[in-house]
């Protein structure tokens, strides 16, 4: 199992039932107190709703609705408890392989992860909320071709570093996005606000999103970035962040450089930010789609996640691939004799 698999195995997150009472997030208190709905975030000295602090978005709810849950938008309380138990057992069991090699390759139990242990409070069965089937809409024929080419590259042993995934290369993690989605571990964020800016420091991999609120225009189309170019404004209690200028290389879920992402951050109670995102990319997706999850307070602290500086995996994966090639080159002539 490659580092890449580990990295993506945990792409799961909390979803949130839009418009549901806050009861779902903090059941014992809020359920009996509908007044909690009127809770408003404290304000920063310059009057912004205050999103500051340490936050996490870890969860076990899958990004897309699993096929076995087709047609089922929500779990019952009982089903949710069973699912949590099953996921915990599955991810924490010791995977013993028949050979030492297989033993090591599959040895990632929960010691290695910090994926959260709960489904989303709404008990939605996916982070994707629109379309209602909880699955990302079909890619356009063009985007399908590009996705197939990427999949082909991912299947073969890497010929060079760029054949591996962006997290393996320490260039971009799902935690960074945007959209910011939970991954296997270190799903932690620090939000800081100053007049004119909301700034999100992302533990993995020490990226900082500096979001100006001064109404400036986006970068010119000639400047493209892995994380795009974000501009924010407040709509009442909600921070709305508009991001464009992505590179085609980011390829979020099959998106291309025309991705237009709108994120909405709404603090719904002292411990929760409702995080919603809308994906619009007409050249890549056959229709726009949306997702949501909740971001919860965490005690922290957050640490320095030095990814590239300790990226031994990259050299080992490439060395492994070259060694395999040599071995099969040696084997081939013998076999033909």
């Amino acid at each position: 199992m490659s580092h890449q698999c580990v990295a993506w195995a945990g792409v799961l997150a909390v979803s949130w039932l839009a418009g549901a009472p806050l009861a779902a997030q903090a059941p014992p208190v809020a359920k009996t107190r509908p007044a909690a709905k009127t809770w408003a975030a404290p304000r920063t000295p310059d009057g912004q709703p205050d999103l500051q602090g340490l936050w996490t978005n870890s969860t076990i709810t899958p990004f897309e609705r699993p096929k076995e849950m087709a047609g089922k938008e929500f779990l019952t309380e009982r089903e949710a408890a069973d699912y949590e138990k099953q996921v915990a057992e599955n991810s924490n069991r010791d995977r013993r392989g028949a050979t030492a090699e297989a033993d090591v390759a599959g040895a990632y139990n929960d010691f290695w992860f910090d994926r959260g242990t709960k489904v989303v409070a709404s008990r939605r069965t996916s982070i994707v909320v629109d379309p209602p089937d909880g699955r990302i809409p079909a890619l356009t024929p063009e985007a399908q071709k590009a996705a197939a080419a990427r999949a082909e590259v991912a299947r073969r042993p890497p010929t060079g570093p760029e054949d591996t995934g962006l997290p393996v290369r320490c260039i971009l993690w799902p935690t960074v996005g945007p959209p910011m989605l939970p991954s296997g571990y270190n799903n932690n964020y620090q939000i800081v606000q100053t007049p004119g800016y909301v700034v999100i420091s992302i533990e993995m991999i020490h990226d900082v999103r500096v979001i100006p609120l001064d109404g400036r225009t986006h970068l010119p189309p000639s400047i493209r970035q892995w994380m795009g170019d974000s501009r924010g404004h407040w709509e009442g209690e909600t921070l709305v962040v508009d991001t464009t200028n992505f590179t085609g290389k980011t390829a979020f879920r099959g998106a291309d450089q025309n991705l237009h992402l709108i994120e909405r951050f709404t603090r719904t109670d002292p411990d929760t930010i409702l995080y919603q995102f809308a994906v619009d990319d007409p050249t890549a997706f056959t229709k726009p789609w949306k997702g949501e999850l909740s971001i919860r307070k965490t005690p922290g602290p957050i640490y320095e996640y030095a990814c590239h500086e300790g990226n031994y995996s990259m050299a080992y994966m490439l060395e492994g691939a070259r060694t395999q090639e040599k071995a099969s080159a040696r084997a081939a002539p013998e076999g033909s004799r």
Binding site: P45, D46, Q52, T159, G160, P161, E162, R169, C170, I171, L172, Q190, V192, Q193, T194, P195, Y197, V199, S201, I205, H206, D207, V208, V210, P212, R216, I223, Q225, W226, M227, G300, P301, I302, Y303, E304, A306, H308, E309, M314, A315, L318, E319, A321, R322, E325
Partner: protein
């Protein structure tokens, strides 16, 4: 009234006139903004004449610009063995400088690289976001958790001394350099930074370096940091990992 006018017109000795210091809601000097050093400390923190680069193909582009240096007193007080190591580093700088590999640059180097960085100042934490390698650091102004391990960017704890932000930085690893000339430190490095407003658009940045494994005594650097005044100034990505993959892993590419 006349006395008041007179007082207002005369700057207090030894510090910036208070009226010129922009302040945050909690009355501290407002260091928010995008800053950059304008010197050659990243090539060599000590004074140096211009010299040829090591990559012939880069010609004038790869040459080192001359600079007066930012080290107080001019010389870094290396212990004898460390002075030899610095010489060796200089000789091997083309392969050994961690900047070449896009590693997080450490402190104070991150502040005087030829890239902007943004200070995001609140009463409890001050974030510094660096364009180079997307490096960042959190300066704890309130409750500082203990550092769990040695780090590239250090563990920063700050406080205000009058109008000066003082940051104590510890928990470094021994992997970063101070410049492209091979000036280095051990994991015993202790950095104290002082940021003092000089004008609305400039700070005085002073650094004390202490490392008994490498230096015979603490020593200081100082330099101005300048505000990037472009109306549309913003940090852009410099995710240099992509730019060093061929250098670091090219020999493992399929032929």
């Amino acid at each position: 009234m006349i006395v008041g006018l007179l007082l207002a017109a005369i700057p207090a000795a030894g510090q910036a006139p208070v009226s010129k210091v922009r302040r945050t809601a909690d009355g501290k000097p407002d260091l928010n903004g995008i800053w950059q050093a304008l010197n050659t400390a990243n090539w060599d923190v000590q004074g140096h004449a211009a010299q040829a680069g090591q990559v012939i193909a880069l010609g004038a582009v790869g040459a080192t610009p001359g600079g007066l240096g930012v080290v107080e007193g001019g010389e870094i007080p290396y212990l004898p063995a460390a002075a030899a190591k610095k010489k060796e580093n200089f000789a091997k700088r083309l392969t050994e400088d961690p900047e070449i590999k896009c590693y997080m640059p450490g402190v104070p180097r991150a502040n005087y690289m030829p890239f902007p960085f943004q200070i995001v100042q609140t009463p409890k934490v001050i974030l510094m976001a660096y364009e180079f390698a997307s490096a960042s650091r959190t300066i704890y102004m309130d409750k500082a958790p203990p550092s769990p391990a040695d780090t590239w960017m250090g563990h920063s704890v700050g406080h205000w001394q009058g109008d000066t932000l003082v940051v104590d930085v510890t928990s470094f690893n021994d992997q970063t350099w101070f410049d492209r000339a091979g000036d280095f430190h051990s994991d015993a490095l202790h950095v104290v930074e002082r940021y003092t407003p000089l004008s609305p658009d400039a700070l005085t940045y002073e650094v004390t370096i202490e490392d008994p494994n490498v230096f015979s005594r603490p020593w200081k650097m100082s330099m101005p940091l300048y505000r990037r005044l472009e109306k549309n100034a913003q940090l852009l990505e410099f995710k240099c990992v992509e730019f060093v993959e061929e250098l670091m892993y090219g020999h493992l590419r399929k032929k």
